[in-house]
């Protein structure tokens, strides 16, 4: 099962992954149109402290606590990817509370959003990985 992994040794803290994520999930085909003047809500976020930076995104846990705590069955695990069904989500935010990595967040509409590996969006391949200038985020089998 391929997953997104982070090599913090090579993370430059440039935050490009956040912008690439936000663009990939915008549903638009032009980055400027998608992001200019907006506050972005990416599913990957750079954590920084002192000189250390690294990207954090959904781990697609083996036993995802978000899925088991979802009251409406909106979260499920398909082929190793934790997915969200926006039609079922009631916006109770339980998943946000329980995720130990802080990788589920609220979207503009108030319901939740999370990393789905870009498999369904315009990118088709994790955009954070594709746009990382230093291979600090990789999508691979381990």
């Amino acid at each position: 099962m391929k997953r997104v992994y982070v090599n913090e040794e090579w993370c430059l803290g440039c935050h490009l992954c956040e912008y690439n994520c936000a663009f990939a999930n915008s549903g638009l085909s032009d980055m400027v149109k998608a992001l200019k003047g907006k506050i972005i809500r990416p599913n990957v976020r750079i954590e920084e402290d002192g000189g250390i930076t690294y990207a954090v995104s959904c781990r697609h846990c083996d036993d995802p606590i978000c899925v088991s705590s979802c009251i409406s069955g909106a979260l499920s695990k398909n082929d190793g990817t934790v997915c969200i069904d926006h039609d079922k989500c009631v916006g109770c935010l339980t998943c946000i509370l329980v995720c130990p990595y802080g990788c589920v967040s609220q979207n503009e509409q108030g319901a939740v959003q999370k990393c789905e590996l870009c498999l369904e969006n315009i990118s088709g391949y994790p955009a954070c990985v594709q746009g990382c200038p230093n291979r600090a985020i990789v999508y691979e089998e381990r």
Binding site: C14, H15, F23, V32, P133, N134
Partner: protein, 501 residues
Amino acid sequence: MSISYIYPEFEVVRNPSRCIACRVCERQCANEVHSYDAESGLMLSDESKCVDCQRCVSLCPTRALKIVKSDCRLRENANWSDNTIKEIYKQAGSGGVLLSSMGNPNPLPVYWDKILINASQVTNPPIDPLREPMETRVFLGSKPTEMKRTSDGGLDCTLSPQLELSMPVMFSAMSYGSISYNAHESLARAASELGLYYNTGEGGLHEDFYCYGENTIVQVASGRFGVHEEYLKAGAAIEIKMGQGAKPGIGGHLPGTKIVGDVSRTRMIPEGSDAISPAPHHDIYSIEDLRQLVYSLKEATEYKKPVIVKVAAVHNIAAIASGIARSGADIIAIDGFRGGTGAAPTRIRDNVGIPIELALAAVDQRLRDEGIRGNVSLVVGGSIRSASDVVKAIALGADACYIATAAVIALGCHLCRTCQTGKCNWGIATQRPELVKRLNPDIGSERLVNLMTAWRHEIMELMGGMGINSIEALRGNRLMLRGVNLTEKELEILGISHAGE
């Protein structure tokens, strides 16, 4: 200084309709050109700090940035160019020697560009490297002049130590210190994967890289930084650096700001001390002294490693090379005046030394005239920019080429020529950890391997066109070259005919 005499050289052009204020430019610029104004939500720039390294341009996700040459000009003057005047302003302000990096950028003749390569038509067939074997393997080292038989009549196959290269290119000397740990790791790993060699330069060999020893040339320079017995034994060959094309006549300079942590340990000098190599080796004031050092190093390594003597291409290079060939050296490396550097006095970089093309032609011919070309291998560097430069160099008489500028360009260098500041935004010529990490050796070594693989393909295509299927049949094959726009004298020195002859 209340007056700024010099208007910034570059302008940062930001397309406001494209900028999304992601601040990547700001985070990536070690020169602090870009900043974000929270009040207006706009990115600002201070172009006086810009060195045109293009890091921000390369990382801007919306291509909102470009760096252009400022069109603010001094009044035109064919004698007093803008640059000349600005250098005077700088020196009048600082009282110091001007420093520069990388190779001579002045519009002096590039002979490679005035030499054209032959191809077969009708009388003999070109060879297709996609369908026929095409050999680029090279052995560097001294070759015996007399064949000997063993007592049973067989060939005595004893050879002095040789370097085996999968193609006639090596990465030339760049010290750990002048370039980063990750740049060294990229070079070492690429050399190892390619079956080539990289060169430690004069900064010693980091203990992590001893494992790449089989593909490492260890350098001994006038400062003797980092030289000890294990170091000499760790490499596949030892190079005595007498001079460097970018700064003939002076030694290496590494400012104390770059002598930190492992760099200081590897060089075996205190942290923060400037590493200023002496101009000469103080045990070599003449050719007979060189012979002693060559043999001291051979003794120290039990005659198991070839010794390279590297010199800058200077006026009397043919005679110097002839002397070196008789000094016990196995390989002579000649560095032309366009060779790069991490720091050199501008006046020396731009005015001292001669073009490698002429030096190579003169040396190869002189060694042949004296019948000793087989005693040594010739390696040339000093701005070998492409596979065709390599092919031309081999046809003029070189056994192999050294590349360094092309290698760092493959690693991301944009030739902004400010290595001496130590703020390389590409993680190459810097020791600042947050900048060094920008060069991931996984990517760096891959790009170097790609570059060499591409060059090897191109070399094979060019060879095949000439009907040559082994690189040794190209070496010194000057009939394969013709000159354009060259004078009789230049053609005579290069030993080639003019196109049409």
